[in-house]
C-alpha cells in the first residue's frame, strides 16, 4: 500500500503566520456520560464521548471538526458551550477560564458563544412566530430595551440572513429547511456573539440549499469577525469552510492541521482512509481507496493502546498497548500515531 503513512514526507511551506489572538483554548477536555445499570440504577461504567481533546482557535478563524457519527463531535461542542459539564480538562474563552463558571457569570458569558444546530426542523418551535424566535434572546438579556428597538434589530437580522421582512409575522413551520436554518442563524446572531459553534448546520439540507447556507455563514464571518467551530461529517463541506481541521476518532483528535496539509498530505492512517473514502464528482478520476473494515468500537469499552488499532490498515503489534500522544510532527501539524514522528 503506497498511499498509507509516508514517513519521509516532503518539505512543505510553513503554516500561515499566527499573530491573531486566541479566542478559545481547550486543553485535555473530557466528557464522560455515565452508564446506569443494575437494580439500583448505579453507574456501572462510562461512555468516554470526549476523552482528552485539545486545540486552540484564533479570532476570526474556523476550525472544522470531522469524524464518523458517534466520535464525540457534538459532545465536544456542547461541552465547550457549557451545555454539558466537563469531566476533566480546561476551557479558556477570551482569556477567561470558563471551565467551572456558573450562575450570573456564566449567563453573562453565554452571550458570546452561540450554537447553530443540525436539524432546522427540531431546533425551532414550529408554532412560534419568527419575530419572537429571534427577539427572545434579546428580550432575555436586555429586558429594558424598547420593543421598537428590538423589532428594528430583528428586522436587520432578517435582512442580513436573507429572509423577507414579512417573515417576522410568520411561523417557523411555514418555511423550508434552508429558510429555517437562516432563522436559526439569525437567532444565534441576535446577541452579537464572538464564537459560533455550528453542529452539522447543513447536513439536513439539499445540496442547492446547502450552498446558500454555507455562503451565508462565510459572509457573516467576514462582516462580524466571527469565529467558528464548524462540526460536520462531510469532508468536502468542512474543507470548504475551515482554516484548520481536527479529525476525531472515538473521543480523540487524531490529527489536526491547516486544511491544505490535511487534504493534500494526510499523515494519520485514519485521516488517509477518511479522505480516500470521499466520492469525488469526477468520473474519470480513479481513486485509490482505503476501505476500512468493520465499525467504530463502542466508546463505552474503547480498545487499549491506540483507539484506531482495531481498524488500522498499518497497525503493528505495539499499537494495541501503547497509546499514541497527539504531538507536533512539524510546525503547526499534530498527529497521534506511533508510526508518524
Amino acid at each position: 500500500m503506497s498511499n498509507v503513512v509516508d514517513i519521509q514526507h516532503k518539505e512543505q511551506s510553513p503554516p500561515l503566520p499566527s499573530n491573531q489572538e486566541t479566542l478559545l483554548e481547550v486543553k485535555d477536555l473530557k466528557t464522560y456520560y455515565p452508564v446506569k445499570g443494575g437494580f439500583f440504577r448505579r453507574t456501572v461504567g462510562h461512555v468516554k464521548a470526549v476523552d482528552g481533546v485539545s486545540f486552540s482557535l484564533k479570532k476570526g478563524e474556523t476550525l472544522g471538526l470531522v469524524g464518523e457519527s458517534g466520535c464525540g463531535k457534538s459532545t465536544a461542542g456542547r461541552t465547550i458551550l457549557k451545555l454539558l459539564k466537563p469531566s476533566g480538562g480546561r476551557i479558556t474563552f477570551d482569556g477567561e477560564d470558563i471551565t467551572n463558571i456558573r450562575g450570573s457569570r456564566l449567563r453573562e458569558r453565554r452571550k458570546d458563544f452561540q450554537m447553530v444546530f443540525q436539524d432546522p426542523y427540531a431546533s425551532l418551535n414550529p408554532m412560534q412566530m419568527v419575530g419572537d424566535i429571534i427577539s427572545e434572546p434579546i428580550k432575555n438579556y436586555y429586558p429594558r430595551k424598547k420593543a421598537k428597538d428590538i423589532k428594528q434589530e430583528v428586522m436587520e437580522l432578517l435582512n442580513r440572513v436573507g429572509l423577507p421582512e414579512d417573515a417576522y409575522h410568520k411561523y417557523a413551520h411555514e418555511f423550508s429547511g434552508g429558510q429555517r436554518q437562516r432563522i436559526g442563524i439569525a437567532r444565534a446572531l441576535a446577541l452579537k456573539p464572538k464564537l459560533i459553534i455550528a453542529d452539522e448546520p447543513v447536513s439536513a439540507l439539499d445540496v442547492s440549499v446547502q450552498s446558500q447556507v454555507l455562503n451565508l455563514l462565510n459572509e457573516l464571518q467576514d462582516d462580524f469577525n466571527l469565529t467558528y467551530l464548524f462540526i460536520a461529517h462531510d469532508l468536502s463541506v468542512v474543507k470548504h469552510m475551515s482554516d484548520h481541521i481536527g479529525i476525531m476518532y472515538l473521543g480523540h483528535i487524531v490529527e489536526i492541521a491547516d486544511k491544505k496539509s490535511i487534504y493534500e498530505e494526510p499523515l494519520h492512517p485514519y485521516t488517509q482512509a477518511l479522505i480516500s473514502a470521499v466520492p469525488e464528482p469526477n468520473p474519470k478520476k480513479k481513486k485509490e481507496r482505503i476501505v476500512l473494515k468493520g465499525d467504530v468500537p463502542s466508546p463505552e469499552n474503547p480498545p487499549s493502546g491506540c483507539p484506531f488499532h482495531t481498524r488500522c490498515p498499518v497497525a503493528v503489534d505495539k499499537c494495541s498497548t501503547i497509546k499514541p500522544e497527539l504531538k507536533e510532527v512539524k510546525p503547526g501539524r499534530k498527529v497521534a500515531c506511533i508510526l508518524v514522528d
Binding site: 442547492s208 461529517h233 462531510d234 468536502s236 469525488e280 469526477n282 465499525d295
Partner: protein, 342 residues
C-alpha cells in the same frame, strides 16, 4: 462500475415509457412524475439525481407498484420488464416480480427491518416467499447471504435483532434481503445517505461487487454527485417530476447542458478544488399544487430564463447522440441557438 460495456446494442431489461404518476391533493390530481421515459439495460447502473421532492422516490414506487393506494396512481404510460408489461399484472403476479425480478432498497432504512424479529427470520421470509425451501436450507442460505454482504460472524448475527446492529450492518442486511432471490434489477433509493463516508465506501464497494457477480442492473437514487460519478454508467437528472437531462456519466460531468444540472454541479464544494463562493439555486422546487402548468418548470429559478420559457414547454430532445436535454436553449436549431448556453 465505470466499465463501459456497450449497452446500446442490448435489449432493455426495464423500459419506462411516458410515465405519469399523480397524487390527489384537495380533490385534484397532480403529477409528481410527469412523462418520464428511460431504459435500463442488463447490468447497467443508472443514477437518478435531483433535489428533494423532484419525484425520484415516487418514480421508483411506481415501478414497484407500491404507491399508497387511493392517494397515488399511475395515470399514464407503461412499464415493461423483460418485455412484459407490469401494468397488466394483478397483485399476486406483481408479488412474484417483486423481490425475484426487481428488488428495492427503501429510503428509510429502519422501516425495512422489523424490530421484533431476528435477522434470520426476516431473511428466510424473503426466501420462502419465492422458493420452496426447507427451514434448515433457508437458514444455511441466510448465513451464506450474510457472509456474502460482508457481515462477519454471520452464524451469530442470524439470531440477532436489528437494534443490535450498527447502521452499516443494518444496511448490509437490507441489501442481503434485497438480493436474496437474485433479482436482475435493484432499485436502491439513497442507500448510503444515512451512513458515514467510511461505511458508504464499504456499501458502494459491495453493490459494485454484486452488480458483477449477480449480473444485476441497478437504479441508484442519490443526491450525492460524487457517488454518481464513481458508480454509474448513465445518469438521469430529474426536476419537478420530469427528466431534464440524461446521458452517460462522463458526458454529464464534462459537459452538463441543462442550467439545472450545471447549477447542481457548481453548488457542491469539492475536495480537488478551492472555491470562494459556491453557486446556489435560488428558491425551491415548486410543490405539486404550485407547479407551473405551461412552459418550463424551472423558469422561476433559472438564471438563463428567457421570455418564451414561460409559454413554450421544452421537450426532452437529443442535443447530441445519446445526450437528452429538456431546455429551450437547445431546441430546434440548437446548433446555432446552443451558443447562447455558453
Amino acid at each position: 462500475m465505470n466499465n463501459f460495456t456497450d449497452f446500446q446494442s442490448q435489449p432493455p431489461l426495464l423500459e419506462v415509457n411516458n410515465l405519469e404518476t399523480a397524487f390527489e391533493i384537495d380533490g385534484e390530481w397532480h403529477n409528481a412524475v410527469d412523462n418520464v421515459s428511460f431504459q435500463v439495460k442488463p447490468k447497467q447502473v443508472i443514477g437518478v439525481v435531483g433535489e428533494s421532492g423532484c419525484g425520484k422516490s415516487v418514480m421508483s414506487l411506481s415501478i414497484m407498484k407500491l404507491l399508497p393506494k387511493g392517494i397515488g396512481k399511475i395515470r399514464n404510460g407503461d412499464i415493461k420488464f423483460n418485455g412484459k408489461n407490469l401494468e397488466k399484472l394483478n397483485d399476486k403476479e406483481m408479488n412474484k416480480v417483486r423481490g425475484k425480478d426487481i428488488a428495492m432498497i427503501f429510503q428509510e432504512p429502519m422501516t425495512s427491518l422489523n424490530p421484533v424479529f431476528t435477522i434470520g427470520f426476516q431473511l428466510s421470509e424473503a426466501l420462502h416467499n419465492h422458493f420452496n425451501i426447507s427451514k434448515q436450507d433457508a437458514r444455511k442460505k441466510v448465513i451464506h447471504l450474510l457472509d456474502k454482504v460482508g457481515i462477519s460472524r454471520p452464524e451469530k448475527v442470524v439470531d440477532e435483532y436489528p437494534h443490535q446492529l450498527s447502521g452499516g450492518m443494518r444496511q448490509r442486511v437490507i441489501i442481503a434481503m434485497a438480493i436474496a432471490c437474485e433479482p436482475k434489477l435493484l432499485i436502491a433509493d439513497e442507500p448510503t445517505t444515512a451512513l458515514d463516508v467510511t461505511v458508504q465506501a464499504q456499501i458502494l464497494e459491495l453493490l459494485q461487487e454484486l452488480q458483477t457477480t449477480n449480473d444485476m442492473a441497478i437504479i441508484l437514487i442519490t443526491h450525492d454527485l460524487g457517488v454518481v460519478a464513481e458508480t454509474c454508467h448513465e445518469v438521469i437528472v430529474m426536476y419537478a417530476g420530469e427528466v431534464v437531462e440524461q446521458t452517460d456519466v462522463v458526458t454529464l460531468f464534462e459537459s452538463p447542458k441543462h442550467p439545472y444540472t450545471q447549477l447542481l454541479m457548481q453548488s457542491i464544494p469539492r475536495m480537488d478544488q478551492e472555491e470562494e463562493v459556491l453557486a446556489s439555486i435560488e428558491g425551491i422546487v415548486p410543490s405539486l399544487k404550485n407547479m407551473p402548468r405551461q412552459g418550463c418548470k424551472f423558469v422561476d429559478r433559472c438564471p438563463k430564463a428567457m421570455d418564451e420559457c414561460r409559454s413554450i414547454t421544452p421537450q426532452l430532445k437529443e442535443s447530441s447522440p445519446g445526450h437528452g436535454v429538456k431546455c429551450l436553449l437547445y431546441e430546434s436549431s440548437w446548433e446555432q441557438e446552443g451558443m447562447k448556453a455558453k
